[in-house]
Symmetry: C2
Subunit: 241 residues, 2 copies
């Protein structure tokens, strides 16, 4: 679903879809505008209804239009500022930049969840957790520090995983299938501990990503990533509004 025109063979339904998409994107058909009925498009393009239906269904799936029975199809108002933020796996991110990835486990503890742990994971009953602190570096320069909690009742294998060689993020990526997550991004200034871990000055700005991951209502992990704020940037590209 990109805005640039796909360079594939223009079949009829794709032509119809592209025609409509263009009118929406240029503003010719503003939000709320009723686009022609299926039977009108059938007449205009001289094809069967299933063909225009496929074009319209795809536009609906892409949230560009809204379809209402008996009423017709309407241009949706753009979802203001809904951006796609690509937060790559840190190792992948660093190697993609052509830099050498380094990883260092600072601490690993297996313990019964404290009340603070339970709060952080959003679970009510006590269970075992693994707490991990580690550091990622690029060309031997600290890149980010990670502070993670894994719920062992959801991911029992994590108890025996060797996190001294493999970053827990990568390990989880390969051992836990599809998940949902919530990111919270904020800014703080480095305290003494963070400053030392990132090799920056106390009081320097840091970008913080708190990620909370679950899978079908089961908590998996909560992680806080701390980046030097001046050297790291999150880029999000989007369309709409």
């Amino acid at each position: 679903m990109s805005l640039v025109t796909d360079a594939d063979k223009p079949t009829l339904y794709k032509l119809i879809r592209a025609d409509i998409e263009k009118r929406i994107l240029t503003g010719e058909w503003p939000p709320g505008h009723r686009i022609p009925f299926e039977h009108e498009l059938v007449a205009r393009y001289g094809c069967s209804r299933m063909t225009v239906n496929k074009a319209l269904s795809e536009l609906a799936q892409a949230d560009l239009i809204e379809r209402r029975r008996r009423a017709g199809s309407f241009v949706r108002r753009p979802q203001h500022q809904s951006a796609v933020l690509k937060i790559a796996d840190i190792r992948a991110e660093i190697t993609a930049l052509g830099r050498t990835y380094g990883y260092e486990l600072i601490q690993r503890k297996l313990r019964t969840a404290t009340s603070a742990d339970r709060d952080r994971l959003g679970v009510s009953k006590a269970g075992k957790v693994v707490a991990i602190a580690c550091r990622h570096s690029a060309d031997n320069v600290p890149f980010a520090v990670e502070d993670r909690l894994i719920d062992l009742s959801s991911v029992p294998d994590a108890a025996t995983a060797d996190f001294s060689r493999e970053p827990p993020g990568s390990w989880l990526l390969h051992h836990v299938p599809w998940t949902e997550a919530e990111h919270t991004i904020s800014a703080i200034v480095a305290d003494e501990r963070a400053a030392e871990a990132l090799d920056i000055a106390v009081g320097a700005p840091c970008l913080v990503i708190d990620r909370y991951t679950w899978r079908s209502a089961r908590t998996i992990t909560a992680v806080r990533l701390l980046y030097p704020g001046d050297s790291h940037r999150l880029v999000a590209r989007f369309k709409g509004g």
Copy 2:
């Protein structure tokens, strides 16, 4: 496209789609797994090929599977950490929190683009721009300061718009149709000017969003939003990896 099961009437193609989706999400069919051929699904569900085709096409459009001619359909590997970041219009964001929105224009200048302006907008030839500084507040507490540049060769109407009453973000949202944008998120510490504008201490952490907006290759606006880092949070929800 949500992960939670839609509570709409389970038609046959939706059932097929949900069945497959569940197997992918639970990891029963891992990335790379070849899902049954259309003719096999036709036999299993006792329906026509168009019905299973519709289910598979939607899964393909949602990037859950990849379809290859002659080879079959395959579970795609999750796109690591691709998050949807909803950055609401500031006014909408504040009023949604049940707080009173306040807006104050600090400065508006119409000028021929300086070389710094051209750099920031990513345009090569000189033209007129509007430079705006303004402040958003919630319950009379500073919420964010905005520093914006609008390219008048793309949005001539902005020259005469009254930005003393309407925030430029809202104005643009209603006067410029679909756009593309790129956000860059970083952290800085407040300098004296920022500290005064946000009523925070010099050296306090700030979250910075730089947004660069264009429409079909034409630059529209570049804006920098500065939030107090401890009180503001960006939340992104996502699925995958």
